[in-house]
């Protein structure tokens, strides 16, 4: 994929201190990353803070990227998710989940046309998600896209903790099996 190669080249140049490449890397990936960040954090300001932290980290640690972590974009999504999860965990104990918050955003969530455009791997993951039971799929995707903890899932799905844990565990095992085929 030409885009993957270009991102890899830009990241390598960034690791060598090339600011122009760093700017281009930001230009190409920031909107996609912010889309995922806003979806998870529900507030644009928070998502932009995380995006900022992510790129500061990328500048200092670009050389730590390894192909084993997937494409550059996948790696950026992963690192951003960890930063976002930390942010969520840091503020959620004091802040109740506000179901209305998502309505204040002009953002409708996973976009079917983006799914159609994304690469083969994404298509495979989606296909494999379809092999999960409804409750398994719902708990795995809520955890992934919204960063919910077991306890928050328990509340949201009105289901005992043990059940939620086993939905997630079995969901991930089935997902794994399907992806390995």
């Amino acid at each position: 994929m030409a885009e993957q190669e270009e991102l890899a080249r830009l990241l390598q140049a960034t690791a060598r201190g090339d600011r122009q490449a760093f700017a281009r890397l930001y230009e190409l990936t920031a909107p996609k990353l912010l889309g995922a960040g806003v979806y998870m954090l529900k507030r644009r300001e928070l998502a932009e803070d995380v995006l900022q932290d992510l790129f500061v980290k990328v500048w200092h640690r670009a050389s730590e990227y390894q192909a084993e972590r997937g494409g550059v974009l996948t790696w950026l999504y992963s690192v951003q998710r960890y930063l976002a999860l930390d942010k969520l965990r840091a503020q959620r104990p004091t802040q109740e989940l506000d179901e209305d918050m998502s309505n204040t955003l002009a953002f409708e969530g996973p976009d079917p046309s983006a799914m159609a455009m994304s690469n083969d791997m994404a298509a495979r993951v989606h296909k494999c998600l379809d092999t999960l039971t409804d409750v398994q799929r719902r708990s795995v995707t809520l955890a992934f896209f919204e960063g919910l903890t077991h306890a928050e899932l328990t509340q949201k799905l009105q289901t005992p903790l043990g059940t939620v844990k086993s939905w997630i565990r079995r969901g991930l095992v089935s997902l794994q099996k399907c992806l390995e085929q």
């Binding site: 122009q20 998502a47 932009e48 900022q52 997937g70 999504y77 955890a143 896209f145 991930l172």
Partner: protein, 241 residues
């Protein structure tokens, strides 16, 4: 520690990546990751598996201040400023040189004139020289363009301009007055390369009245049609000296 239980490692790695491994268990798992390649490798495996899901969320354009703060926090603002000043200093030196050579006959100027023997040293009353600086998104200079109408030469120097993807080339265009179709000035060098080439006769007369220069992203080797086919990525004003 039970790194030797692959099933447990897989399960914890999947929940770590998903985010449902929280609190102390998460911190403990992170220290496992630091200690064990096997554990890290399981995490990377799950990052590759689940990561593509994130692509489904669509895009949101960040506000400009996000990038500004990234620059601030990575020392990029200071670096951009210093680079601009260096470029300006280099530029003034050259302008001074072009203008001053016929006026000042000091020993130093003679030495410089010898060094520059390959370039024209006579400054004619009418503007016959044109320069343009193509700047990048952070106002850092990417290319210096110099056209000498009298000699019919065009010199383009790349100041560390990053090469586009292998399937692309940057092409330079002159934008004639009155909105006439852009005319190609050729492909742009990248890195530290420069090109020195003939300035076609028909383009010489366009320079004086042109609206400016534009750089477009074209297929490798340049536009197949003779007109820009890709996006215009940079523009620059033409100055006469």
């Amino acid at each position: 520690m039970r790194y030797d239980n692959p099933q447990l490692v897989q399960r914890l790695a999947s929940e770590y990546v998903l985010g449902t491994l929280t609190g102390r268990a998460r911190r403990r798992f992170e220290s496992w990751m630091r200690d064990s390649y096997q554990v890290r490798s399981a995490v990377w495996h799950w990052e590759r598996q689940l990561g593509p899901l994130a692509e489904a969320t669509g895009g949101v354009q960040p506000r400009a201040r996000v990038w500004e703060q990234v620059l601030e926090r990575t020392g990029g603002k200071a670096a951009a400023q210093a680079e601009r000043e260096r470029a300006r200093a280099r530029w003034f030196e050259r302008l001074g040189l072009w203008r001053g050579l016929s006026l000042v006959a000091t020993a130093a100027a003679v030495v410089l004139a010898v060094l520059l023997a390959r370039t024209p040293t006579e400054v004619t009353p009418q503007a016959q020289q044109y320069v343009a600086v193509v700047n990048g998104p952070e106002s850092q200079p990417l290319w210096l363009v110099r056209a000498d109408v009298q000699q019919g030469r065009l010199a383009i120097r790349s100041i560390n301009a990053t090469a586009p993807a292998p399937a692309n080339s940057y092409e330079l265009w002159i934008l004639p007055a009155g909105g006439a179709a852009p005319r190609s000035l050729g492909l742009l060098p990248t890195g530290t390369a420069s090109v020195d080439t003939d300035l076609p006769v028909e383009l010489r007369s366009l320079l004086a009245s042109a609206q400016g220069l534009a750089v477009s992203l074209e297929p490798a080797g340049g536009s197949p049609t003779g007109a820009p086919t890709g996006p215009v990525v940079y523009q620059a004003a033409i100055l006469s000296i």
